[in-house]
Subunit: 337 residues, 2 copies
């Protein structure tokens, strides 16, 4: 790999660590306005594409059949923090389709919200599958199976009709075959298909513009994106970048983080999408890079999310995380162009 | 940076993420038996050199004056898990020198032991500075100040005699000036000086052989290393690599992790030391690399620590973390040589 350094981690007078990666920014024509590193190598988009994985829920009619609300559609696109509000909504979605927590296949993990995790301990409870950051997505997937009269068991397997619909949707939008050679299983046990950053960035431009999509899909994506802008706290959680930025700038930027250093987003006004992957998978770097991009395109975003200062456990500032000169200059060139 | 990939993270059929880094293995003559990547660039060793930072505690006579026990000396070299045993020992060390938790300057963080963190929540307590993984090191540093009649306040500052002694010790052992140009502040608020991996690996070879050191320092290091081998659970904590490996193989390998992807270790029988730094700072990669090295030199270590399988939240295996072909081949060449 010979991707450039995108993020530097400084301690005192020196760079202590550095994160290389690749980044594509393009419009719906797919022509890269910016390409740093290898944007053609397929990468697993992970949770960054939850808005696309949510499409069958809308397009199948399941969301209407079960009268899923705006918050519930936002939760179906979420990597949520596992607070009471998040888990209650997921539970409500399941109840509406006649199922309960046990039907989920996403597995359990501690809530990402430290306060929620603390409350569980205090009440002597273990996390349930509802606390899994993907429980909304899984409830939405189960809804499509129930709506279409399919078996609920094994809905997470690559060969199940639920995942086949997701596969078909992703393949249609990206124009890629997405074969077994790029199929992996995500942390929540559903399949994820690796795709080039260039294709991902173009897909995100389409998410917010609808360009090149049929009227049904365009309308479905409008509904999904509007839900995320209306309920940004449900897409992630208090204090997290996606929530903070979209709460402040709804209609200006749509953004979604993914595991292993992935970030995607799009700007409706300029019709541009971006997709990036940090080679080593570090979230501090993917977040830093995404924030640099968002701040470049939307000056009002500056300072909304600042995780750049490194401090000691006593709070003494001793370093900082910053975008590399290479990334800064590349973004600057877009402004001039 | 153009360091080679040392660790690969696979998901299904593909490498999802990769970690580059540099690695030096050498004897006390400093001639590298293995050099992967740039081993001359200074890197912050962070907590990997706690055994060296502990030297003034022994050499000043403070450990004897305050009758520090073997467990207490091990704790002074530790990045501990913050269990009751760890915190009680740190508190005891402070009591012995007439101080209490408030004298520490390391700051507070949640115990690394999930069980200990849970117990704190259940008892409605917040973590104290005793839970900081460095509290033993700090108690040892304070002991030298008290022993030598120095002011206790500000003992963590680079200009305080406590840190000047640490600086002198590190400078003597590495033969490096360690000036302000390589001075950073560690997460626990004491100074840390960047040094090349080659010098670090040589220093670790000296730690376990004593070669080239005067009799006082040699004896002090013997005492430190023996303490860590006698009480490996105090150096880290249950289930952690340093503890597991040293508990099983005392006298065969001395190893210590550091933040931001650093690992150092040494093998007394072969007289070799190693030092490595993952460019991006990932612990999963530094640990994977250190384990590969230890397993190469000590076949009995194989399987002691296995964090190589990636699973979903339901426990389904979906990928693995492994040493790169480059690292495997480089280690293999040492065996043949």
């Amino acid at each position: 790999m010979s991707n450039p350094v995108l993020i530097e981690v400084w301690r005192g007078p020196m760079i202590e660590s550095a994160h290389t990666g690749a980044l594509a920014i393009c419009g719906t024509d797919g022509r890269p306005l910016l390409a740093l590193g290898d944007i053609d190598r397929p990468i697993f988009p992970r949770s960054a594409i939850k808005a696309l994985q949510c499409l069958p829920l809308i397009e199948s009619g399941a969301a209407d059949r079960f009268r899923f609300s705006v918050p519930e559609i936002a939760l179906a696109c979420a990597s949520h923090s596992g607070t009471d509000r998040h888990t209650a909504l997921a539970e409500g979605m399941l109840a509406r389709i006649g199922l309960s927590e046990g039907a989920l296949g996403c597995g359990c993990h501690e809530p990402q919200s430290a306060a929620a995790a603390r409350q569980l301990v205090l009440h002597g409870r273990r996390p349930s599958q509802l606390h899994n950051n993907c429980s909304g997505k899984h409830a939405g997937m189960l809804a499509t199976a129930v709506h279409l009269g399919e078996a609920v068991a094994g809905y997470y397997n690559p060969d199940h009709p639920v995942q086949q619909r997701v596969h078909k949707t992703l393949s249609e939008i990206t124009g890629l075959p997405l074969g077994r050679d790029v199929e992996g299983i995500d942390g929540c046990s559903v399949p994820n298909w690796a795709m080039p950053l260039g294709a991902l960035a173009r897909a995100f431009a389409q998410i917010v513009t609808g360009d090149g999509l049929g009227p049904v899909r365009r309308k479905a994506l409008e509904r999904i994106v509007e839900a995320c802008w209306t309920e940004p706290e449900l897409v992630a959680g208090a204090g997290r970048a996606d929530t903070v930025v979209m709460a402040k700038l709804p209609g200006r930027v749509f953004m979604k983080t993914g595991a292993e250093g992935v970030y995607c987003g799009a700007f409706p006004q300029s019709g541009l999408g971006f997709a990036l992957k940090i080679d080593d998978g570090a979230k501090r770097a993917s977040a830093g890079c995404a924030i640099a991009i968002v701040e470049h395109f939307i000056p009002e975003a500056r300072g909304l999310v600042d995780k750049s200062t490194l401090t000691t456990w006593r709070g003494l500032p001793v370093g900082h995380i910053r975008s590399s000169g290479m990334l800064d200059r590349a973004l600057e060139r877009i402004k001039l162009g």
